[in-house]
Point group: D2
Chain length 379, copies 4
């Protein structure tokens, strides 16, 4: 695994726990952790249970005993690492967004294509693996809400409401590519497309930055550490609003924001169809709202389904009905799905091509926002 921040912790938990609850066709070994600096990487490895460490990701790519590379670094370094790994014949799991620029994402997807039929690349949109989201997709794909007409997707956070929140790498365009758009909007777009089975073909967007300067962090590269008295420029959006049309005829509204006071992690998605609707909220991730418009009119309403029954996606491995799963379970399911696909020589989903397509949508939003919200094709 390359990188060991917040995502590194989540991925480590995924690799560790997946083989305990699921009967995997191969047991993943947490062999080598790559970090930028020593002793940071050793500490992380000790904490998260990785056997060895290095500060040079090329070591990981070159080692024969390593089959797969898990990339959890900031987006700016994804392309270089992923392409090298694929060229070395390693399977790759890469965090989202796939890359910071469309060009990098295209190069990565091409590298995945070149890597041949036995080497697989996957991008880490883990929210697809929240059981309620996977179940929502099942309901929509089975026709339970009819023809999909409207999607409203919002991903609301509020950690930038405070003007003293420091200038981390996530607020710098050269490290993060974009702000709320790439970090949160990417999830909203991927989940909307995953659940509906439709793809965004055009968008009109609006980007905004409310707080333009923030305290610099002490560390030189600005990637971590404590705040200072100096201030630096925020070079990414903190709110992204966009509308979109889908290839199946649906229309959608999207919002990604780090300025929605009081909303901590509210990835919410409602899909309205000709005969029903589904409603998902990541802050209540063990539930799914389902409206069946074919029920008798006096009995219609949103049903609050606890997605904890053995027949719900991934649930047979876990606890009795009514016992909640949490955030990191998505990473456990991701590890499971990745291992299974690779051993069975299937392309794991979402592929790099899927990640690239999400990038194209985000790129369209940026271009539209730069052109007075003019409608912009994304295909």
């Amino acid at each position: 695994m390359v990188g060991h921040g917040f995502m590194g912790a989540a991925h480590s938990q995924g690799w560790r726990v997946a083989p305990r609850f699921f009967d995997l066709p191969a047991r993943p070994e947490m062999a080598l952790l790559v970090g930028r600096t020593s002793p940071g990487v050793e500490t992380a490895a000790e904490k998260w249970g990785w056997k060895e460490t290095t500060t040079d990701w090329r070591v990981a790519v070159q080692r024969d005993d390593i089959d797969a590379i898990d990339i959890v670094t900031p987006g700016g370094s994804h392309a270089e690492i992923a392409i090298a790994a694929l060229e070395a014949g390693k399977h790759v799991l890469c965090e989202k967004p796939l890359a910071n620029t469309l060009e990098e994402a295209i190069a990565m997807t091409e590298a995945a294509d070149r890597a041949g039929k036995d080497v697989f690349a996957m991008v880490g949109f883990t929210y697809r693996r929240v059981p309620a989201a996977a179940f929502a997709r099942g309901l929509v794909q089975s026709g339970s809400i009819g023809e999909v007409r409207q999607i409203r997707a919002t991903y609301l956070q509020d950690w930038l409401v405070d003007p003293e929140a420091p200038l981390t790498w996530r607020l710098q365009k050269d490290h993060a590519g974009s702000g709320a758009l790439g970090d949160l909007g990417a999830h909203a777009v991927d989940l909307a497309q995953f659940i509906t089975g439709q793809r965004v073909t055009g968008v009109s967007g609006l980007l905004n930055t409310f707080v333009h300067e923030r305290p610099l962090l002490a560390e030189t590269r600005g990637l971590a550490g404590t705040a200072t008295q100096e201030r630096g420029a925020v070079t990414v959006d903190d709110v992204a609003l966009f509308t979109g049309r889908f290839d199946g005829g649906a229309i959608g509204s999207f919002e990604a924001t780090r300025m929605s006071t009081g909303r901590k992690n509210a990835l919410r998605l409602e899909v309205s169809g000709s005969s029903g609707a589904v409603y998902f909220d990541l802050e209540k991730m063990n539930s799914l709202g389902f409206y069946d418009a074919t029920a008798p009119d006096t009995r219609r309403g949103f049903t609050d389904i606890m997605v904890t029954e053995p027949d719900h996606p991934y649930l047979s491995a876990w606890w009795p009905a009514g016992h909640s799963l949490g955030y990191e379970h998505g990473f456990v399911h991701q590890a499971k799905d990745f291992v299974e696909a690779i051993v069975e020589r299937r392309q794991p989903e979402p592929s790099f091509a899927d990640g690239l397509q999400v990038q194209r949508v985000l790129d369209g939003v940026e271009r539209s926002a730069g052109a007075d919200s003019l409608w912009t094709r994304t295909t």
Copy 2:
């Protein structure tokens, strides 16, 4: 009162009940009901308690013993009636949207200006009078959420999901002006502006019609009655999506739809500020969500305030805390506010100028939607 459809019932209840619960400076008399046809108007007058009837609204305008005209007809007839009434020196309460076209709305506003300082005109955005909405405005205006940054306003209904829902006047451009945009979007825009105290200065919009043909109604003018086997063209939008910028620096997203399966009357508005947020949902109209970002971090969360305390707006006249009000109470409060303002020779709010400004926003959305969502000024 001119007109006696759904709105006529609501307004009648407002006039009847207001003097029972509020100590008004003058008691309104329900003198004359105007309808298009006899005996329809007599039946309505008997049912809703109006003393006399006529089928000619000019009669109402000309009678000396009538002080105020309440217009509850479809939007296409608002201008002619309101202007004549104002010219005759009558106070006017006119249902929203103010008119079907910007030109009519301008003419009405000019007529209100010309009518002099003792003749007043008001437009019927009653949702301002839902206690929770009025209380939300109070919180925002008193600085309880800090500087307003984001507004997300949706007005979700679903009565057009069924493709067999008939082609009423509300689906015909010549009668209704627009569809979800003017009917529902007008409320969303007015309420957003009322609560934040900011006005929309520019928009980018998208209009959509999912069902293009619907059963014609039997009655010639297509304004009422039962469905037939013939079909006619739907000439208005059934979904309107738009983003906007406000003159105080806030940005907003708006949705007005009659296609949101399972949502019956969900006018929802969340305002995110630099130190708090408020959340309103008309389907749960006795509550307001309030988030105070200045509370200790472990105690922060949305507080579900039951807006039924005596110190909440309008509530001292009603029931003990915890006893719900309903939809028609907004009309009771509107009658109260209108009577009080007129007797005290104050301009009742919202004025025709306020209504016109909302029309300008809706007009901007239509123009933007017709120009590939290009950003469009509304001032």
Copy 3:
């Protein structure tokens, strides 16, 4: 109508509004208001729209042009007035609880029986007329939740949490009979029996008073007015807890409290059956929760039904789907049902016998509470 406090306002609204929204077979006239003192009664009559007034309820009973007496006084005076009215051949609508003592309730029921087949008496459990509650009964009675097994009913208020809340008549045993038990518990018992169709046959109870002294009110009889520095003894319970068994085999838990901090008017009732459940909460009175255990296991959950469809009880007279009703609508429905039953010479429900049966349950709770919670028969 005899009495003009909080209940008088609600009943007046019921009489005034019912004929406007429902096609009644007879139009009620608000003829005579009876109050203890002048000019209080004149002021109330003017406010609520009663034609004449008197300070002697016997006048009302004796007048030939009065067909029905509506009693909204404290419980201690119910028996005398109701019996006199029935003996004079007047129909009677009497607020709950039927009486303060079992003996009075028995005498009233006997008077109703003696009054003959064309004179009717009804007790005012209006919450039966909240559409969601009436719909819940329909679901249960039609077998939609199977065999009823468990009922949990709570009626939670908090207006006595403040130790400075004054000593009104509701806190004095001689006026009110009991405290939370008779005021709130009566509703919980009636609604539980109404929805399930089962009757309580035995109980075990616990009564408690947390605040034993409160400020006396200035007015001599202690029935109204402002608080003083003197304190008087609270002679009723502020919390009642009891369990019960029903004649159909169900078991129930009940709570009535004025000490449930933060709960304003939370009459909540959940009925669990062998194939489903219903959940009602008066604070969210336009909704009903319904769980259908016969649905596919992955789609089960409580459906939040907005009880505002035309096919729901009472709703065809009101607004479009999704538009809320409020507290006083129950009184409108009560007026409607009372007038219809009388004109059609049917016994309106709930009868005095129904009210007496509820009294027996409350009496059983008091006896059990006085005997160390020992199980006590109530039939």
Copy 4:
């Protein structure tokens, strides 16, 4: 660890994950798993990651290299194993309820006392370690809701609604001691006492069994396996209702049921105090409702606190705010607290004495239920 059913899986996850997220003063080793039969125990050990296995728990007790015994067997075997372990100087973590009979629980507590000041015993009420529950205790103990007056605690499940649910050991008095009472009621009592800091001194109870016969399981001892056509007698309650008084003056109502159709794992607890209230629901375990009666009256309401901030109990070790924890995290926290207390030579809570006290309350409920609900002391 002795036992490897549902609880074994949860405890294993606790031992494995705790040292990864918390800096423990000692790292637990998952040394030896004890099961009744081979190869069942080997399969479980492989799956859950235990190094060795045995089918004789006495082996575990005798091994010098084992410091602590974790008992997750049915309640009937707790006493024998725990006492032997304590006598051998092992620390003991024992699942709840402490034992099936009061006598056994007393013997276990005496054994813990006899074991000396460096050997510790703890009972596994893990719900204390749900962050929202621990935070609720903090709020109450810090006086944020004032003097505690009322507790309503329900633990609602529905897995016995289906009459074909098989006769597992949990439905047999000789294995499980009691039914819903001991399994669910024990949690409700412990959590109520934990949060309020008050102890139950007396109870009045009602036990009920709705389904008296169920399909027998194939396996001889009836502890697992598939259902058969034969039926056996259910010898425990499926519903327990009781009221209680606490030593600090509060009163409480309790319900434990496996018959609450549609409720899967609803351990709900509301504590009403003289100046506030808290509300917890295990089905929404990442939230806590908090009502502050000292707030301005127009701003009062239940605040829905997401208990995911770094300053909330246990949260600094986990994910960013807004990211949910799940059911098994309570077991991780339990492992952490147990290890820390032992290394620091502190008594871990809850002790066997705490577990015994809960048993006394449950025993009181059973005695009261057997005596027509007569009030019964539990101290």
